[in-house]
Point group: C2
């Protein structure tokens, strides 16, 4: 009865909920670029105001980086701590956006209505599904069915430098019975998912310096060390012919997937052809002998996220550059220690350097992989609640992305975390033309209404 | 007698000559960047005006690209055709310039007085040594000692797309007894040089496309093809462990250096340690078993002049990019056909492509190497004249750079070309803080006065 009323309230209020989300999406809270510092601050203020209007005791907490937002609502029953992030990815290349990234709008597409704009899916849209679910409960019942706290970060897209210190300094305030995280996706169009396995992330920037200035490639070409060639050689050497990563010790501690999980994943009917076809590809490019789901959920990787060196403008310049650099990241799986691997990686790069060049490193975040134990009763309650809202049964799945917060809740606070999200594979997060399906937003809000209700029982 | 007067006139007029050069250097005639099209035009006009003031019949000739400047002076005796270029290299990275690149000035350095600014050496300063030599002859004698024509190009730093068509369309006007080219350097501080061997150049831009848009490296990392990794692999594969280039057929037609030339070069006392030490290096990075002079003068090379892909801003972005590209150039030696090698290179890259990616190519110039025959009597006359001006005997040397015009004079017009220049290794051409020694400029002008005199005898 209480549930049905709250669901009806969600449906009745959906247009206003979209308007609120569009307001938040208009704030260009790009955390990795210092130019948007004030905008990150503005997004945090917006959330504090909105939470306050819902009766939360809400506040903005300063950090050395972008602020955190904390909110606590009174309530009975179990205590849940909801996490989301209000910062977004950069938007370049801007030229590939069909509409301005921070002028979000509803748009009709052949696949349905979408909310278009940077952060629509990752993570402002997802974050707001939970806030709107709270609003609906509050509107109908004047209170929430369980005790709810929220914790919003503003540095998720830039390595979360302030997160661990903040969590350690605010242990008591952050502790609850279970954490809820909304930063993942559905498994397919109709199947909701609870992520129980996340990859970690190690980010490194590698800069190779050869000559002490840019040289003329006619005068020096052939005798002088070219840092682009050195960098290319190192990158090429990071994988062997079978697709395995060559950094010594990289696979130490990496276990094979347990057969029961492998079996569950096999039952999901994942289509490599369909998954890759969406982005114009067709051939799984990972390690030989691994399934597509292993490649993205349970195997570690090494990717180059950016490379730069020499002349990059129009035309041609016969320069032999002084410097070349690359941003390289590793996705990690349970058993891998990011700090140890950073050292192994750096030692490996040093070992590959030819004469007449030097290397320097800049670190960009390190977080271990996370594996949830699904023993906590909340997992089965949430799975049943999600299954009631969506056409198909909810599944326990893996996620190739890195959501370090899940591991931190466990390691720092001893809390289990349930990762429930409503994104779709074609949301183009981190890419131009990011969107969030209106159905993801609407059914996402309804899903949280159901999950909160289920947890109260 | 006539010679001494002209030399004295050079000395008397040197301050005014510097002022004229500074005026030309203030025009930012960067040919590779369309934004500077009008400036290239302005530089051509400046030269036409200056030549006209010297009594040349001078004109600006339009081409599909930047204009050519032609000038003819009346005179007796042999007919020389002088070539230089008025366009300059781009200036990035601008932040590394100590003074604005197009606000040239005289500057006192521990090694003497220099003219600082983009183009000071390459090639405006060098070009003006010849113009000023003509001015001095004219001032003293009212006429030049030989028949002089000049031919200035504005696309040398951007692949000279209009040069060959222009030379073919103006064969008669361009034909003379010998060509003079001032775009090379001294051999050491005190030894003038006539270059008799130049490398050719083949420029290619290689673009690899993987997924049809930028992807999230968490979601797709491990299963999707990464074009930066593909590009790095191709670049790394272009050389084998001994430093040889792996493109099939690349060394076809490349001959070993004749023993007499190898002997002359050996006598030059070239110090690899000194040459590389100037730019912070110490280990010759070319093919195993080759001398430093071979690496820069007589062996072909492959260099990467620029590379770009993915996120390159501050911070980190876990993107798996759709596209990566590199600007790659080959320095060629006699016996190599640039057009054939372009095809071999493209076929090689295609053969190295893994699944799920495509490559596209953009061409950036192709010119063969050139080897001068020193049989023409002008070579010995010029060598003697240069030896009179400088502390040491002039040498016949090679040059690692590509000055295609020398080959074109031979191939299109059947003319020998003498490459005489006064640049120094530390002029930082194509780099920030380019300069031309005042002594190069001053003694360069005097050198041309002597060469013109010698050729008249």
């Amino acid at each position: 009865m209480g549930l049905e009323q709250a669901l009806a309230q969600v449906d009745a209020d959906i247009d206003a909920a979209v308007e609120r989300l569009l307001e938040l999406l208009r704030i260009p809270s790009i955390s990795t670029d210092p130019a948007y510092k004030d905008d990150c601050d503005r997004a945090a203020d917006w959330l504090v105001d909105d939470l306050t209007s819902l009766g939360f005791q809400a506040s903005k907490r300063t950090t050395p980086g972008h602020p955190m937002v904390m909110g606590h609502a009174k309530g009975d029953g179990p205590h849940v701590m909801f996490y989301g992030h209000y910062d977004v990815q950069p938007v370049d290349p801007l030229s590939l956006w069909d509409t301005p990234p921070f002028e979000p709008a509803l748009e009709d597409t052949p696949k349905g209505r979408v909310i278009r704009g940077r952060g629509a899916s990752d993570d402002k849209g997802q974050l707001m599904t939970f806030v709107e679910a709270c609003r609906a409960w509050k509107a109908v019942h004047g209170a929430l069915p369980v005790k709810v706290s929220v914790f919003f970060e503003g540095e998720e897209e830039s390595g979360s430098p302030s997160l661990v210190p903040f969590m350690k300094q605010n242990r008591e305030e952050l502790r609850a019975d279970v954490a809820l995280i909304c930063d993942t996706g559905l498994f397919g169009e109709e199947t909701p998912a609870i992520v129980t396995r996340l990859r970690g992330l190690l980010g490194e920037e590698v800069t190779i310096t050869g000559p002490n200035k840019d040289l003329h490639s006619g005068m020096y070409g052939g005798i002088a060390r070219n840092p682009i060639r050195v960098l290319a050689g190192i990158i090429a050497s990071l994988h062997d012919a079978s697709g395995r990563i060559t950094v010594p010790g990289f696979y130490d501690g990496v276990a094979e997937l347990p057969t029961d999980i492998a079996g569950q994943w096999g039952d999901l009917g994942f289509s490599e052809a369909e998954f890759l076809g969406e982005v114009g590809l067709g051939v799984p490019a990972g390690e030989d002998g691994r399934t597509g789901l292993e490649m993205i959920w349970s195997r570690p990787t090494c990717e180059v996220n950016g490379i730069t060196g020499g002349y990059q403008g129009d035309g041609f310049k016969t320069v032999l550059p002084s410097v070349a650099s690359a941003k390289i990241s590793f996705r990690l799986v349970p058993g891998q220690d990011p700090h140890k691997l950073r050292e192994s990686f750096r030692a490996y790069v040093q070992s590959q350097l030819p004469g007449d060049c030097t290397v320097s490193f800049q670190e960009h975040g390190a977080s271990p992989a996370a594996e949830m134990s699904t023993d906590h009763p909340a997992f089965e309650k949430a799975r049943a609640a999600l299954s009631d809202e969506w056409p198909r049964e909810a599944a326990f799945v893996g996620c190739g992305g890195s959501i370090p917060i899940a591991g931190y809740f466990k390691d720092i606070l001893g809390m289990d975390a349930m990762l429930i999200g409503f994104g779709k594979d074609d949301d183009q997060i981190h890419s131009p033309n990011e969107k969030y399906d209106l159905s993801s937003f609407h059914k996402g809000i309804r899903s949280w209404v159901r999950v909160l209700d289920a947890l109260s029982r």
